[in-house]
């Protein structure tokens, strides 16, 4: 059995990221888009954690910057989720829809 290398993590991460991107681009429901964004953030987290672990193996156990960064990302994502959901809620109250195609006021 081949050992799990950073390459494997990167493939997973890239796959997740691309799924997130496609979700953001093609879905109409803003909640789903939101979830797709979370998917992209977590793809990044996987990358960070994977490289941090690889760095610990090769240099020393003190090198945990990547994991710390991932924790920051999770915190920021939580904050972002709170703010984003607040906006979505406000928007829904106005338009009674969460379809992204209806959200086209910011033009001309």
């Amino acid at each position: 059995m081949t050992p799990i290398t950073p390459a494997h993590y990167m493939v997973l991460s890239a796959a997740l990221f691309i799924i997130g991107v496609i979700g953001v681009l093609v879905r109409r429901n803003i909640i789903v888009i939101f979830m797709s964004i979370e998917l992209m953030l977590n793809a990044v987290n996987i990358n960070l954690v994977a490289f941090a672990r690889d760095w610990q193996h090769r240099v020393g156990p003190d090198h945990v910057i990547g994991q710390v960064f991932a924790v920051f990302v999770i915190v920021v994502a939580a904050a972002e989720a709170a703010v984003g959901l607040g906006i979505i809620l406000a928007f829904y109250r106005n338009k009674e829809t969460v379809n992204i195609d209806e959200m086209n006021l910011m033009k001309w």
């Binding site: 681009l25 992204i100 959200m103 086209n104 910011m106 033009k107 001309w108």
Partner: protein, 724 residues
């Protein structure tokens, strides 16, 4: 005598009062009384001053009064370095101005009284205006004669010209009257030009304008017997001024037209006083003139030619006032003839007698015109003797006086002039004698046509005359005209007073040959000689140049010299001349009566026989036409030329620059509008157009933006990867 300045100021006050408040508020009675009373007071003062003057010894008979300063001394260049030009309001009473003052105020007063009657048909305001002008005229005329220097005299001189203009054009609604006023004024300006040049030259030569000082200075200068020097030039300029005011050749043309004014005005201004101002001015400068013998000759020749020419024109005129106007021109010619031959006293004497009988004749003609309700054509009068006896008798006296029948006034003065001319120049005397004959003729022609023969005028109610078709055309304001009638007393009394004057005025100058002592000549003599001190000097200087032919006249001996000469002339000559002139007058009278009373057809026969001459005379020698063709048309042509220059060149340049400014403004406007504004608009327009295309990019759809962002990231990554 210190109050002589009041003599002019009294009528001046009357004129101001009548002119300022009278036209609006005074009744006719008040306006007339005011004017007459100021004149009466002036006359009383003049008489008083005259009596006081008579009380003085002859050599002290001169009194100067300076009323106020006028022009303070101004340094000005003269022939003798820088002099002080100054002119106070000075008045001078000496025998000459005393006589003139008496004539002006006396006759002026009578004519004021007469005017009350003559002008009664005028409206209230016009009546006060008339008296205001008449008083103003007396103010200026008295200023003229009493003025103590050239400038004060000039003020009066211009003032009487103004009043003459105002009064000739008194009926200004009538075009002919307004035109005559303008003509008088303009012709007078030509003379005034000469007068003022003379004044300038007097100041330049003598450094003063005071009559006395100028006369004394001139007396000390040599007589310009041979050449034409400064004094001659001064005298010539002054004489040009005199020809304008006194209607002499070549400036006499205004006087006959001046008859458009009311008849009392013609009597006062254009017969008795204003027109004699030129004679007075020449006499006032007698010493200057005696020092310029050449100019004296010019004066005498102009005088006699004017006298003869005007008399011939007077022969054929049919307007009663025009005959008298030409007669006035003719008599003024006599006065200049007198001054021209050095007989200044005789000139002034004739001026005085003429003032009486010519004022009388004019007022008489006014009475006739009044009686005929405005008719002035003598051919439509006749037999008026029986309707207006007082006018007839008084006018007859005036006519006898002007014709030179003794013992009326004109005989003495005219004979004196003829006698003195005879001594000076036989040819001129001959012309003057012919003029005397013509004078008697045309005056009796006037009398005969007006007062004798058959009545040719319009008919009136209750008088079935054949001339009924003439209608009442000339008849203005009255309700009905009841035929010729005698004038009211307010008009006949001045006539009678003047008739008395015309009878007795001559007795102040009875010549020695007739047992008189020529009182007026001796009275006037001091005015024509320099003061005693200068006299002595001049006589002393004279001995050095005793060879000069005219030296005997220097130093103010002119009048006296002639007087002595006259005394030396044989008594027989003087008697003969008197008889001759009376004979001439009688012949003239006889011929006139024959032509116009006993055989009326004879005059027409004469007119047809000498048709050419008759036509020339009737057209007044075509002088008006000549002046019109030369001076008037020349002036108008010049004016038109200047107008065309103004119109074409000056206006053209102004219009052209205006047009050019507008053109350049238009070009600048177009540049602004299309180039500058165009660029600005182009920027805005292109920004607008491009934004119209580019705004399509902004869809507002988040997913579009996200896709574009992704494509961008891919593009950057691709560039990054492949160009590394």
């Amino acid at each position: 005598m210190d109050l002589i300045w009041l003599i002019p100021l009294l009528p001046g006050f009357g004129a101001a009062l009548n002119g300022v408040v009278g036209i609006r508020f005074f009744s006719k009675r008040v306006a007339g009384l005011l004017a007459c009373s100021t004149m009466a007071l002036a006359l009383a003062l003049a008489v008083w001053a005259f009596v006081e003057l008579l009380g003085l010894p002859p050599e002290a008979r001169a009194h100067d009064v300076v009323l106020a300063d006028w022009i303070p001394p101004i340094p000005l260049e003269t022939a003798h370095g820088i002099g002080a030009f100054e002119a106070p309001w000075s008045f001078r009473l000496d025998p000459l101005s005393a006589v003139m003052t008496l004539v002006v105020s006396g006759i002026g007063f009578l004519i004021h009284v007469y005017s009350i009657g003559y002008m009664h048909g005028e409206s209230r305001g016009a009546y006060a205006r008339y008296f205001s002008y008449l008083n103003l005229f007396c103010f200026f005329m008295l200023t003229l004669v009493l003025g103590g220097n050239f400038l004060v005299m000039f003020v009066g001189w211009e003032g009487v010209g103004l009043c003459s203009y105002l009064l000739i054009g008194y009926w200004y609604e009538k075009k002919s009257a307004a035109d005559a006023g303008k003509k008088a004024f303009i012709v007078n300006r030509i003379g005034d030009w000469g007068f003022i040049l003379g004044i300038f030259l007097v100041f330049f030569t003598f450094g003063t304008l005071d009559f006395r000082a100028v006369a004394d200075a001139a007396a000390a200068m040599p007589v310009e017997a041979a050449g034409f020097g400064t004094l001659s030039l001064i005298c010539l300029f002054l004489f040009i001024g005199a020809t304008g005011k006194s209607a002499q050749i070549p400036l006499y043309v205004w006087l006959p037209d001046a008859m458009e004014g009311p008849t009392p005005v013609s009597a006062l201004i254009h017969a008795a006083t204003m027109v004699t101002a030129g004679v007075y001015m020449v006499a006032r400068n007698a010493i200057l003139f005696t020092h310029a013998p050449m100019v004296m000759t010019i004066v005498a020749v102009v005088g006699v030619l004017t006298a003869l020419m005007a008399a011939t024109i007077g022969l054929v005129q049919t307007d009663i006032k025009r005959v008298l106007a030409y007669s006035t021109v003719s008599q003024l010619g006599y006065m200049f003839l007198a001054t021209g031959v050095g007989a200044f006293a005789a000139g002034i004497f004739h001026l005085m007698t003429h003032a009486f009988f010519k004022a009388l004749l004019f007022l008489g003609s006014g009475s006739v015109i009044h009686a005929m309700a405005g008719e002035q054509d003598m051919r439509r009068m006749g037999s008026l003797r029986k309707y207006m006896p007082v006018t007839y008798v008084t006018m007859l006296i005036g006519t006898l006086a002007i014709a030179g029948i003794p013992p009326f006034a004109g005989f003495f003065s005219k004979d004196e002039i003829l006698f003195r001319t005879f001594l000076d120049n036989r040819l001129i005397w001959g012309l003057a004698a012919i003029t005397a004959l013509l004078t008697a003729f045309y005056m009796f022609r006037l009398m005969s046509m007006t007062f004798d023969g058959a009545y040719h005028g319009p008919a009136w109610e209750g008088h079935g005359h054949e001339g009924a078709d003439h209608g009442h055309g000339g008849h203005g304001g009255h309700d009905a005209w009841h035929g010729p009638h005698e004038s009211p007393r307010v008009m006949t009394i001045p006539l009678m007073a003047l008739a008395v004057g015309a009878m007795v005025a001559g007795f102040v100058g009875v010549p020695a040959a007739l047992g008189g002592n020529n009182a007026i000549e001796h009275f006037l003599e001091p005015s024509f000689t320099a003061s005693a001190a200068v006299h002595g000097e001049a006589v002393a200087g004279e001995t050095t140049e005793a060879a000069a032919p005219a030296a005997a006249e220097a130093g103010g001996e002119a009048a006296a010299g002639h007087g002595e000469e006259a005394a030396h002339a044989p008594l027989a000559v003087e008697w003969g001349l008197m008889l001759l002139s009376v004979l001439l007058a009688v012949v003239g009278i006889w011929f006139a009566r024959r032509n116009y009373v006993t055989r009326p057809e004879a005059s027409e026969a004469l007119a047809t026989r000498f048709a050419g001459a008759h036509r020339v005379l009737l057209n007044k020698y075509y002088v008006d036409e000549l002046y019109d063709a030369t001076a008037v048309q020349g002036t108008l042509g010049g004016a038109r030329g200047l107008w065309a220059f103004d119109r074409r060149v000056v206006d053209g340049a102004v219009d052209g620059s205006g047009w050019f400014t507008r053109l350049s403004a238009w070009i600048s406007h177009m540049f602004d509008k299309y180039v500058v504004d165009g660029l600005v608009n182009l920027v805005g327009w292109s920004a607008g157009e491009s934004s119209y295309a580019l705004r399509r990019v902004q869809t507002g759809l988040i997913q579009n933006y996200a896709l574009l962002m992704l494509i961008g990231v891919f593009a950057l990554l691709t560039v990054y990867l492949f160009t590394r």
